[in-house]
Symmetry: C3
């Protein structure tokens, strides 16, 4: 991997969870994602936690997008009344990348049919790629793993490098 590609690989992680934000639950998914990203040569420049509130999620995604080329959020992608991460993500993205979300969902179905209920989306904000994954540590890691090999090329395209 060339040094210019390595420079690309900055990541931030946003844990979206009422119970974690209020200190009632330890964040296991954020650190699990950080490990996975570091194993794949990403520099994790920031991790953050917000409750399941649309405006707070949007503010955090905007802030993290300015600091890292890849922002991965975990949590808030399901059907519970407070699950609004996909809506907040759509609101801050200029463009959606439906295929990445579809692949994560279809790979998830191979493990559990309930993966189909994930409403996770992926999109771009400027030159940053934002990816939603589910809140459980296992769902978060499995989802990101299913697309992680595609991401360096995607980040390269986002930066305007169009040649393979």
């Amino acid at each position: 991997m060339s040094s210019s590609v390595t420079e690309l690989l900055t990541a931030a992680i946003l844990t979206v969870s009422d119970s974690t934000a209020h200190g009632a639950r330890q964040d296991l998914s954020g650190p699990a994602l950080a490990s996975l990203l570091m194993e794949n040569c990403y520099q994790v420049v920031e991790t953050a936690v917000v409750p399941d509130e649309g405006p707070e999620i949007q503010t955090a995604l905007i802030r993290l997008s300015a600091k890292a080329r890849l922002v991965v959020s975990t949590g808030g992608t399901g059907l519970s009344p407070r699950d609004v991460t996909p809506e907040a993500t759509r609101a801050v993205c200029e463009r959606l990348v439906e295929g990445l979300a579809d692949v994560m969902r279809f790979e998830g179905i191979k493990k559990t049919p309930y993966a189909v209920l994930s409403r996770a989306v992926c999109g771009t904000r400027g030159t940053t790629l934002i990816i939603n994954v589910p809140g459980s540590p296992r769902g978060a890691v499995e989802s990101l793993s299913s697309i992680i090999e595609l991401l360096p090329h995607a980040l390269n395209l986002l930066r305007g490098q169009t040649e393979h």
Copy 2:
């Protein structure tokens, strides 16, 4: 199945069809869906018929969502000029559940490649799940059957029960 889960399983059916609404065609899809839902322990609290008019579909979906936890519409999901059920559904839903629509479509393709032309969507309005299925009795029943086992868990999550 516990009694609290059984209480969840209220359903309403909306047949969207100009010819049925005008009395020119008998509704076969609505009763076929009702049978399928009753076999799966749902109490069908109301069935209704509207023509392929966006505002009438929206009004009916809003009304039925207040009465049942699951609303299944049949018809208006294709490419004919008057097929506007997906647009009306999106307009009354706060959140979309793309995965359920994708599964119905991909299961449908196994029967007929034209299933790919279904524009059916699924979404949530308050604690109600709204599901579009095609207008033909066979397409309606096959589509709903392909996801029906996921629905009790989905409805449970919608009510705010997040533990498995």
Copy 3:
């Protein structure tokens, strides 16, 4: 194929590419799509080239939709900063046909996993079907080929012919 079906099969092709629009690159994808369409009995009534500018893409799609029942655009579907064809397409379509885009993407993945990054959409404007395919000649032809057999039926439905 009856003569009424043949009359349906008018197509226009829009090449979306900065370098082609500025004369710096020969358009290979547009002619490749034209060949594929003519082999499938379409009359190609117009081909056009525009740069990767949202308003110009929208204007061209609107103009071509008035002339042909099928409009195929090539280019601008990826993640490069100037790739905005899907957004321009959504803006001029009244209805989306998600299934066609999904099939093109999933068929593409069988050739290259990066096909998942295509953000191509399909939708309808009046009685015209608009289809985005990628910019490379091979990606363009493979994408359109994967759905081309479904299109006569889709165009027939769009015209209001609902019986098989």
